[in-house]
């Protein structure tokens, strides 16, 4: 499903006399229509596509009307390209300032998956303005935010740009009662580890296995147990899904079978009914039961399909290795496991993910492993990945351990400067200094690996670690928890230093005084570069424990595969 489907699906478009829909890719649109309308992201690649099409029409001597709608905004560079390609006069341009898509009751997505690569790899800040606009829209709807926290360079820039928009249009939100008490900005690159882990809560697992697109999933014949695929919207309105989405996968099957038994019992009630009761049952309950039945069998199907894929030994080993990496045990063994994974060509994306996880948890690979794993990878999956490695290094996802493990004071200072906008003059090479992960030290400081005494009861989770089978508390979520508890970064100096990001916290007492106690429990978390369903589940859990309510705003929902794909170079 695409964002457009969520807003205006094909039948609505047809009602408005849209003849046919084409995907903007390398194939030409073979339409005989007199009018073409392009709904595109403002990217040069798309401009060239349009230019080729228009110029081909010109050569063929055909005249049509062309309209280009840029979403979420038009960029000058795009108009430039249209001009250079000689078609600026032939097309008319428009903007569709669409920036927020509510995917669920607590999840807003900007549906900008490219944000991650654009910003964290290419250093392209184009979307920061879009983020600021989206926040501005939210504050016109829900009033000002009394408390703002954030960590990361992009977080800081987004925050500042947004503030400036607010100040320019002061008066609109002035004097309004704040409806959302806190806003928390988070850069994806301050916690890659969480995003790289295999997901084991149901919603995350469904995303990893079937890929949820725009809040909807395509269940194939193996799930629907028919010959057809089915598009299913996954959100709070699906009563069955809503009860299992945040559960550890090991509980889901049991839950579903219990549910099935209950359902059966409800069906069975009709046996002893008289006619009147039966009439009542059919008119009032049956429809609901049938609906529940349908959903239940879908999710049971999905579970079976996941079990088939994931309960094999391979998956157990994989999870074991991941946990070892998180805890920092048996590094050699894990490295050999990854090597074998590559040698066997299990999956290019999975291999890459494991390499990155090893690199980040270990603060970079030791030189020997760095070389040998990369060599093995190139042999298995093709030499073009030399470019992938260059990307991963630049993004700090796969690096070579530098001599001397921890950050020196000078480096720390320099990297602080790098994160400061005013010091933009420091060159790229220098800024890679700031990419140290220091995961182990942070993990210790923040107690991310819970001490295990006895079995971790996944049915009754005691902390956010349950989303990773009790092995690891997501770093991003822990930081949010800690800052909210203190309502500042006080006492977290060491963590901030290790994270190597600039942090900020602003509280506006005059606004806070106006806020109701209920709105002060409401927290908007802004993930720049994407968040995973595991993080969402973990924070939902935290919310229930501490009496908060979280709302998530993300540039896109992501997972490990999407992150790796964004970094991969594939042959054109």
């Amino acid at each position: 499903m695409s964002p457009l489907d969520r807003i205006a699906n094909v039948s609505i478009l047809k009602q408005h006399e849209v003849d046919k829909l084409y995907k903007v890719d390398n194939k030409p649109a073979l339409s005989s229509n007199e009018q073409l309308c392009f709904l595109v992201r403002p990217r040069i690649k798309n401009m060239r596509y349009i230019a080729n099409l228009v110029n081909a029409d010109k050569v063929a001597g055909r005249t049509r009307r062309y309209k280009v709608i840029f979403s979420p905004q038009k960029f000058y560079a795009c108009e430039m390209v249209l001009e250079e390609e000689g078609i600026f006069g032939d097309v008319s341009c428009d903007e569709w300032a669409f920036s927020l898509l509510p995917l669920d009751v607590d999840l807003l997505s900007m549906e900008l998956p490219e944000f991650f690569r654009d910003y964290f790899l290419e250093g392209d800040q184009r979307w920061i303005n879009t983020v600021a606009q989206a926040l501005h829209l939210l504050s016109t709807l829900y009033g000002p935010f009394p408390n703002c926290y954030g960590i990361g360079r992009c977080a800081k820039m987004s925050y500042e740009l947004w503030r400036r928009l607010e100040e320019e249009e002061d008066g609109e939100t002035k004097g309004r009662r704040p409806e959302i008490g806190h806003i928390f900005f988070l850069d994806r690159d301050m916690d890659f580890v969480t995003a790289l882990c295999s997901q084991v809560v149901y919603e995350g697992l469904v995303d990893d296995t079937f890929r949820i697109k725009c809040g909807s999933v395509d269940f194939g014949p193996e799930v629907t147990s028919s010959d057809k695929s089915l598009k299913v919207l996954l959100n709070a309105e699906d009563k069955v899904f809503n009860e299992i989405r945040n559960e550890h996968f090991s509980n889901v099957f049991g839950f579903l079978s219990q549910k099935a038994r209950n359902l059966q019992a409800q069906y069975d009630r009709r046996r002893g009914m008289d006619i009147k009761q039966m009439k009542n049952f059919v008119s009032q309950e049956l429809k609901g039961l049938k609906q529940e039945h349908r959903l239940l069998s879908l999710h049971i199907g999905a579970c079976e399909s996941i079990m088939k894929k994931k309960t094999k030994q391979d998956f157990q080993e994989l999870i074991k290795t991941e946990h070892a990496l998180l805890e920092g045990f048996n590094i050699r063994e894990s490295t050999s496991y990854i090597e074998e994974h590559i040698d066997r060509q299990v999956s290019p994306i999975e291999s890459l993910r494991l390499m990155c996880l090893l690199s980040i948890t270990e603060n970079g690979l030791i030189s020997k492993d760095y070389r040998s794993l990369k060599t093995q990878y190139l042999q298995s999956y093709g030499p073009e990945h030399l470019l992938t490695f260059s990307n991963l290094r630049r993004a700090g996802l796969l690096t070579e351990q530098a001599p001397g493990d921890t950050l020196t004071a000078v480096e720390s200072k320099v990297s602080k400067l790098v994160t400061d906008k005013a010091a933009g003059k420091i060159t790229d090479a220098f800024s890679s200094l700031a990419k140290r992960s220091n995961f182990r030290a942070i993990s210790k400081k923040l107690n991310l690996i819970p001490r295990v005494d006895g079995e971790y009861d996944l049915k009754v989770p005691r902390d956010m670690a349950y989303v990773f089978s009790g092995a690891y508390v997501p770093l991003s979520c822990r930081i949010i928890e800690q800052v909210l508890e203190r309502r500042s970064w006080q006492g977290l100096d060491e963590v901030v230093r290790l994270l190597n990001c600039s942090e900020f916290a602003f509280t506006d007492m005059t606004k806070e005084d106006k806020a109701s106690s209920e709105s002060l429990r409401l927290i908007l978390v802004v993930f720049l570069g994407g968040c995973t369903f595991s993080e969402i589940s973990a924070l939902r859990f935290l919310g229930r424990e501490k009496g908060y309510r979280f709302i998530f705003l993300t540039t896109a929902v992501t997972n490990s595969a999407r992150l790796m794909e964004a970094m991969s170079e594939v042959k054109a």
Partner: protein
């Protein structure tokens, strides 16, 4: 005894009127008004007088003089007219004086006599000269209508947004119409003109003859026409001394009147007091004034809004008064005080005798950071007056760096504009500036500028990646960024080059770059890729099948699958494929071929570096239990239980696990015990467990 009615005079039978002076004019006019071109602005605005407009004598001493007075005759400006002959004067709604010249040029002046701009009414007007011109007002602005010497009309409905419209020809029109006026209906401006006994309505498409309803017969020409200020009503004066009054749509007659004066009146205008229900026209001859009216339903007149009033005060530079009014009316700052201060500042920058520093300081002191004041607008005004330095000083006060950019670009301060754009965080703005810089600077300087601005540099790189690949290379070269250059050529070897020689050459360049970047790993890997590419080419020539662009692993696999084992082994040696990988590879390929014999031979070639469990797994994947069992016996002790379970030998697995006394293994076997068949085994394990616990 006072007689209140003494100064009231009878008007007709039932009405009275009186004349009294509201105020006397302050001016000291030497000329007769009739010898001047006169224009009075609506709503009690200024009055413009052009003396000696028709300089028939060629003497320079009698050049026309343009005087501007306030409504009460206070002189505001006086200037010698040095341009061409003027046909008509009029004030726009913004109180700008429009002077229409004979050649169709319209000169625009402010109410203090300051020249603002000029525009032309087009070529046709220039060629045929202006015969007559009208300045008119609609709700959309002020317009100019021209009658040319060729008896054609050209008009612009809004001089603020100049769009010239040439009206269609009036068929058979040989001489100037006896009278004409502009009409505005349904947002469109028309021209109504009288030719002999006929009336024509011109719109932009057509010319149509019209007849006023209820017009008396016998009219042979119309001498005057007048349209009301709101364009609702029309009055016509005929050569028979008959006056027709009706709606401007010519659909309804309101009244008629015969005054028995056949001389053409000098002037005829509609007059009504605000909110008055009476509508009337005033007709003037040389020595006679006549008021004709009727009293039907109510008419509402648009009044001056407070905003317009403030604008007028500002135009008259009465800033303190305007501010006091704003404060008295408690207008929001943005609409009120701020706006007036901004106007004041724009006026201030025009004072050429004050130094840049003083002006900038004065403005900042008064304005501070008043909301709604745009320093960039004020700076733009300063720049417009030729005060670039002052403009830059003023821009410094502009808090929104993005707002500073357009003006900085205009003033050719592009580098400053670039840093301001970057500060604003608006990438689109940065890009706009970049392209300006690119055109303005030579390539070397442009690159140098980029070098100091990483954000701009990465943005430009992005652009080049898609649109100017060669420039991208130059950028890397300039920075001695050999790593990126290497990557650039690698990419080229996939995307840009198709011939194998070209691809190898690109890889060679990449290798050199990587060596320069001291990235030995990448250099070696690229060299390997060159070798592989050449070899794949040879394989394609010599063998069947596709090899180009396969990974090393896949190349070897393809060879094995094609039965070229010798070649495969040669390749593995040449590229030093590690043993482990080779074993995985062969194992998978042979199982895919279901060549069990060869697999067994291979398994015995030497001790497996990957153990024998993978053999068991792969055979089971191909559902060959028989072969799997062969390898299960060779699996080392640590994986023995797993292997036995894989081939389904639960009993033996249990024995091994018991022997190992390994709790994890025991429970693994137990979890595989299903149904009745394994009941005995399960018991055995439980017993072993119990025994272990006793100890």
């Amino acid at each position: 005894m006072d007689c209140y009615t003494a100064n009231w005079n009878p008007l007709g039978d039932s009405a009275f009127y009186r004349k009294y002076e509201l105020y006397s004019m302050d001016w000291d006019l030497k000329e007769e008004l009739r010898d001047c071109l006169v224009a009075a602005a609506p709503y009690g605005g200024p009055i413009a007088l052009l003396r000696n407009p028709w300089r028939k004598e060629k003497a320079a001493s009698v050049r026309p003089v343009l005087d501007i007075y306030s409504a009460s005759g206070i002189p505001l400006a006086s200037l010698l007219w040095k341009s061409g002959p003027v046909v008509s004067l009029g004030w726009s709604a913004e109180e700008e004086l429009l002077c229409v010249q004979e050649d169709g040029a319209v000169l625009v002046y402010g109410l203090h006599g300051d020249f603002r701009r000029h525009f032309s009414m087009g070529n046709e007007v220039l060629q045929n000269r202006v015969l007559d011109a009208r300045i008119f007002h609609t709700e959309f602005g002020s317009g100019v209508a021209i009658l040319t010497g060729a008896h054609r009309f050209t008009l612009s409905a809004n001089v603020g947004d100049l769009k010239l419209r040439r009206m269609p020809e009036v068929p058979g029109l040989q001489s100037a119409p006896s009278c004409w006026t502009t009409l505005c209906q349904d947002r469109v401006t028309h021209i109504l003109l009288a030719v002999g006994p006929d009336l024509y309505l011109l719109d932009h498409a057509a010319c149509s003859a019209v007849t006023p309803p209820g017009l008396v017969p016998g009219v042979s020409s119309f001498l005057q026409m007048a349209v009301s200020f709101t364009y609702r009503h029309l009055a016509l004066f005929t050569d028979t001394g008959y006056i027709w009054m009706g709606t401007a749509s010519l659909k309804e007659k309101l009244c008629e009147f015969n005054c028995n004066i056949r001389a053409p009146p000098k002037q005829m205008v509609w007059c009504s007091r605000p909110r008055s229900k009476e509508r009337a026209i005033v007709v003037a001859w040389e020595r006679r004034l006549m008021v004709v009216g009727d009293a039907p339903e109510s008419i509402q007149y648009k009044q001056l809004t407070i905003q317009v009033l403030l604008d007028r005060l500002v135009l008259r530079r009465l800033y303190p008064l305007a501010i006091q009014i704003c404060e008295y009316l408690r207008l929001p700052e943005v609409q009120g005080v701020s706006r007036i201060l901004a106007h004041w500042a724009c006026y201030k920058v025009q004072q050429k005798d004050v130094s840049d520093e003083d002006v900038a300081r004065a403005i900042n002191q008064k304005l501070g950071d008043t909301p709604g004041v745009s320093y960039s607008d004020i700076a733009a005004r300063a720049y417009g007056c030729g005060r670039t330095e002052l403009a830059i000083k003023l821009l410094e006060y502009e808090p929104r760096s993005g707002e500073q950019v357009p003006l900085l670009l205009k003033m050719k301060r592009s580098k400053l504009a670039l840093s301001k754009a970057i500060e604003s965080g608006d990438t689109d703005l940065v890009f706009t500036v970049l392209l300006h810089l690119k055109n303005e600077l030579n390539r070397g300087d442009f690159f140098m500028t980029l070098r100091n601005q990483p954000m701009a540099l990465s943005l430009y790189r992005q652009f080049c990646k898609h649109q100017e690949l060669e420039t991208l290379k130059d950028l890397y070269n300039q920075d001695d960024n050999h790593q990126e250059l290497g990557s650039f050529h690698i990419r080229a070897s996939y995307a840009a080059e198709e011939r194998i020689e070209g691809r190898v050459a690109a890889l060679q360049t990449a290798t050199d770059a990587f060596y320069k970047a001291k990235n030995e790993f990448a250099a070696k890997a690229t060299e390997d890729q060159m070798r592989l590419l050449r070899l794949q080419r040879r394989l394609e020539d010599e063998l069947e099948g596709q090899f180009l662009d396969l990974s090393l692993h896949d190349t070897v696999t393809t060879l094995i699958l094609g039965g070229h084992n010798k070649r495969a082994e040669q390749l593995a040696r040449d590229f030093r494929i590690p043993d482990k990988r080779l074993w995985w590879l062969k194992l998978t390929a042979l199982a895919d071929l279901e060549d069990w014999e060869e697999l067994e031979k291979f398994s015995k070639s030497k001790k497996s570096p990957i153990g024998y469990l993978p053999f068991v797994e792969i055979c089971m994947k191909q559902h060959n239990k028989y072969e799997a069992k062969k390898y299960a016996s060779r699996v080392g002790p640590e994986h023995k239980v797993k292997a036995l379970l894989l081939v389904g030998d639960v009993a033996q697995a249990a024995d091994v696990a018991i022997e190992h006394r390994n709790e994890a293994e025991l429970s693994l076997v137990l979890s595989h015990c299903t149904g009745a068949t394994d009941g005995a085994t399960a018991d055995k394990i439980q017993r072993a467990r119990a025994q272990a616990q006793k100890k």
